[in-house]
């Protein structure tokens, strides 16, 4: 049965993946469909009039103008966002998605437009409230002695605690790879559901991007929450956030890269980042 199922699944997948490449011609005025989640403020979220708004919506509009294409934004649940790209429901993903080696195995990316460290957030009156590490930033490649010590400090402080994270994220990978065995990991369908449980005290800490936390912590919804420990980048967190694109559509990825280069050069990305995140989370060259 196992082999039988494997064969069927594999057959379906291989057929789909190895079929003749259907790379479209992304000429002037063609339509590019961009998927976003709509539940990850301030990157992309839904306002009370039901409209999709956020950093990536503004950026997408700017990039599409630069690429001289029509853009259509489609809302898609996070968990199926890569499979649906491969299935052709849309042509690009702009949903706070980090460029990781694991994802590069199945799709390609434009260059990064934003980079933001991952950081733990805890309740100010919770058990991890006073946790501090000696370094502010840990890059998960070629660790320095200080960085190794900081990771060990996190491990010691978080031992036996429950940490929440959104499903299918780089943050989930990090917890599974680095804090394996020390903490209980709870996975959530959306970051917003995780926030509800953090406030309710069902998790002791939550791991997500600093750019997500900062505006939340400054708003009413973030009352009683605070960041804890260093910001993490690199390694399992990938190399910044970019637009995810099907491998066959390298031409489209190149167009995005060129447009992002231009938008970074003239300060548009920085301006939008400051407007939405309150700090400059734009990718540096």
């Amino acid at each position: 049965m196992n082999t039988f199922l494997k064969t069927i699944t594999a057959a379906a997948l291989t057929l789909a993946v190895t079929g003749p490449a259907a790379a479209a011609d992304w000429g002037k005025g063609s339509t590019v469909r961009i998927a976003t989640e709509g539940a990850y403020a301030p990157w992309n979220y839904t306002d009370s009039s039901g409209k999709l708004v956020g950093f990536e919506l503004d950026l997408a509009a700017d990039l599409c103008a630069r690429m001289e294409v029509e853009c259509e934004v489609i809302q898609q649940a996070w968990e199926g966002i890569i499979p649906a790209l491969q299935a052709g429901k849309y042509d690009a993903i702009m949903a706070g998605m980090s460029i990781t080696e694991k994802r590069m195995e199945v799709i390609t990316f434009s260059r990064s437009y934003a980079a933001t460290p991952a950081v733990f957030v805890v309740k100010s009156d919770g058990p991890l409230a006073d946790f501090k590490a000696d370094v502010d930033a840990v890059t998960m490649e070629e660790l320095t002695a200080g960085e190794t010590a900081a990771i060990e400090a996190v491990k010691a402080a978080f031992a036996g605690k429950t940490v929440g994270v959104q499903i299918a994220t780089t943050h989930e990978n990090f917890l599974n790879e680095v804090l394996a065995g020390d903490v209980t990991v709870k996975t959530y369908d959306t970051q917003e559901n995780l926030d509800l449980d953090l406030q309710a005290g069902r998790v002791d800490a939550a791991l997500a991007a600093m750019s997500y936390w900062k505006p939340l912590l400054e708003s009413d919804n973030g009352k009683g929450l605070e960041m804890a420990g260093p910001g993490f980048t690199g390694g399992p967190f990938g190399n910044g956030v970019g637009a995810g694109i099907r491998k066959e559509d390298q031409a489209l990825a190149d167009m995005f890269t060129a447009a992002i280069d231009a938008a970074i050069a003239d300060g548009t990305v920085s301006k939008l980042a400051i407007e939405h995140f309150g700090f400059d989370a734009s990718a540096k060259n």
């Binding site: 997948l13 057929l15 079929g19 259907a22 009370s48 649940a77 199926g80 299935a87 959306t190 509800l196």
Partner: protein, 237 residues
């Protein structure tokens, strides 16, 4: 209380209009999926009642698989794998483009497949409930297969199947909530989004429950009326 009402206000300031819009999407998906399910159900019943050896097994496989596997898993499989499977089939026929599939279409297909498995059993039961003697009598009266079908079988199958199909409708309507996890903005997804944004999940899930109650109650009435209509020529015992 007034705070909750403000959250549910109509227009751009509140989520009332979005929730009601979600209810329309729910109704739309449920209706389309239910109708598709009846088509699958009629086909499934025909396969299950087939006298060709081996053929009924295909029908059994369909109903057993769908009714034995959680609907959530079926939906995930169709959402994640369905597009690729459809493309694989299309490529066999030489089509190389991408097949457009928005969450609505995929949701309708997924729910239609699930609803169809239950409809298969209902329709099969209804066909079996039509007395054999009537078919024989119609044959003896010289009716063609087609005439027998639309004069004798269909009207009675419809009547016998109606209560069961009412159950299938309720199931399909409630199953639409599962499509929310894969992104279709119906009642449930709208409630997720609104409670995430306002941090007031209780208000929005109660609202969602009320909307579902309204939809099920109203559709119950419709099915009751339809049953009375379908039984208009039948003597009450």
């Amino acid at each position: 209380m007034s705070e909750a009402l403000a959250l549910l206000a109509w227009g751009d300031g509140g989520w009332g209009d979005e929730m009601v819009f979600g209810a329309f999407v729910t109704l739309q998906v449920a209706t389309l999926a239910f109708v598709l399910g009846i088509v699958f159900g009629a086909g499934g019943a025909a396969i299950k009642l087939s006298k060709v050896p081996g053929v009924p097994l295909i029908g059994d496989l369909y109903t057993t698989l769908i009714r034995g596997v959680p609907d959530l898993i079926t939906i995930y499989i169709i959402f994640f794998g369905g597009g690729q499977a459809a493309m694989a089939v299309a490529r066999v026929f030489g089509y190389t483009g991408y097949i457009e599939s928005d969450p609505l279409t995929t949701g309708v297909i997924a729910l239609g497949i699930i609803s169809g498995a239950y409809s298969t059993e209902v329709i099969r039961g209804a066909v079996l409930a039509v007395p054999k003697g009537q078919i024989e009598a119609a044959k003896a009266a010289g009716m063609s297969t087609l005439t027998r079908f639309h004069r004798i079988l269909i009207p009675q199958v419809a009547r016998y199947a109606l209560p069961g199909l009412g159950n299938v409708w309720q199931l399909t309507l409630k199953d639409t909530s599962l499509i929310s996890v894969v992104g279709l903005v119906e009642i449930m997804r709208q409630a997720f989004v609104a409670s995430g944004s306002t941090k007031e999940p209780f208000t929005f899930f109660v609202t969602a429950a009320v909307l579902y109650l309204a939809l099920t109650s109203l559709s119950n009435k419709v099915f009751d009326k339809a049953e009375i209509w379908a039984n208009r020529g039948v003597r009450r015992v």
